[in-house]
């Protein structure tokens, strides 16, 4: 029985998905990032736990809202019953049920769609985040510009083993408090939501950050500085090693004589 319903829901979902792709022009492929050389673009999406986390929140909200709606209806009906108007209360039951149930179905489908349309792509140079169904937003941030990386997860997120990774660039793209509400699409910020390996990703990004040598905000690299910078290359070290060897030999011979 449950297998049948599973199949049916899957079939409906696939149908909905193809409608979205065809009629709403939702891209069905993950986003790409141009790469140079042997750099690989790895694309990933939120972890399974993220879906369960969103569903958990959905059930809690559903419970609260629906209990409030049905409780309101019950109180209203009892009040009408006292005034011998029970039929009005019963007549109100179908629209109340529709109000209680229809938004739930829409929200449930929206959660799945949100999960399926979220994509993250990372290369050695930058990060691209795609998010959204109705309005698709793609954010590209190059690691060269990253100022700080934040990881945070609430108790419920920790229970599901996920965390949010926030990558910020210079500039003040809105206040930090509103970022959670405003569709995660804030300026100067990219949020990788619901991943299990947030710390690993953070270390990766920080490692790439350290590689970048220019610290300014888009200043041209100082070529004079680059040229005059003295660094020991392997060739230098090899030469120094040879000098040491010669000296050591010499000292040994002098001692033996």
């Amino acid at each position: 029985m449950s297998a049948h319903t599973d199949k049916a829901t899957q079939w409906i979902y696939h149908g909905l998905w193809s409608v979205l792709v065809q009629w709403f022009r939702v891209p069905d492929k993950p986003p790409t990032l141009p790469t140079v050389g042997d750099d690989v673009a790895e694309s990933f999406r939120p972890a399974e736990g993220f879906l369960r986390y969103m569903k958990f929140r959905f059930w809690i909200a559903l419970l609260i809202i629906d209990i409030a709606i049905m409780g309101g209806w019950l109180i209203g009906t009892i009040a009408l019953w006292r005034n011998d108007l029970l039929w009005v209360g019963l007549l109100l039951l179908p629209p109340v049920l529709i109000i209680a149930i229809v938004p739930d179905i829409i929200a449930f489908v929206a959660i799945h769609l949100r999960y399926d349309t979220t994509w993250y792509v990372m290369t050695g140079r930058s990060l691209r985040i795609r998010r959204g169904v109705w309005t698709i937003q793609e954010t590209t941030i190059s690691f060269e510009n990253v100022q700080n990386v934040k990881v945070h997860s609430g108790p419920l997120q920790r229970y599901y083993g996920i965390a949010n990774l926030e990558v910020e660039t210079a500039g003040s793209g809105g206040s930090a408090g509103s970022s959670q509400q405003k569709g995660m699409s804030n300026a100067n910020r990219g949020i990788i939501e619901g991943v299990t390996n947030a710390l690993e990703l953070r270390d990766k990004i920080l490692a790439r950050l350290r590689q970048s040598q220019s610290a300014g905000l888009g200043d041209e690299p100082d070529e004079e500085l680059q040229k005059n910078r003295i660094g020991w290359t392997p060739a230098h070290l090899q030469m120094l090693g040879k000098i040491r060897q010669t000296l050591a030999h010499w000292r040994a011979e002098a001692a033996s004589q």
Binding site: S142, T233, H236
Partner: protein, 179 residues
Amino acid sequence: MDQTQDVQTEDSAFDPASITRPDPALLNYYTIVAICTLVGFPFVFLPLYFKYHTLKYKFDDKGVSMSWGILFRKEIYLTYRRIQDIHVTRNFIQRWLGLAQVSVQTASGSAGAEMTIEGIRNPELLRNFLYQQMRGVKESVDEEGEADAGEGNSDEALKLLREIHGELCALRQSWETSP
């Protein structure tokens, strides 16, 4: 149909300098947006209509400028290297019309995007172009690395070390031969 068109445009080299005006589809988009406001149609449509007709882009090799407006003229110029991040936003209507909104962020304090390029036919190509002009391009780093490696032979410090080594060897030989 759409796919073949896409392929053709991707085959031909994308030249941002050729973009000076937004695509005519932008006016359709503005009209639809204005119609969606129902009663507010004239108030929303007129500014957008004038914006469309005065909107001009200029992509040069250092940066991009964008200007519009009739009574209050506005012109924005920003250099590619100051771009912090690029956002491409497409809603349902824009996807149908093949348009997109390319928002470019710099490090300024304003919350909104510093420049919102609208009505571009190939937003992906434009984004790739901007992305390649942004800071942190791998190619330039590689070139520098190769240049360093090539300079290895003419490196002054290394030359000096070689000379020291040579001197040392000669000294040792002369010391050995004449006790």
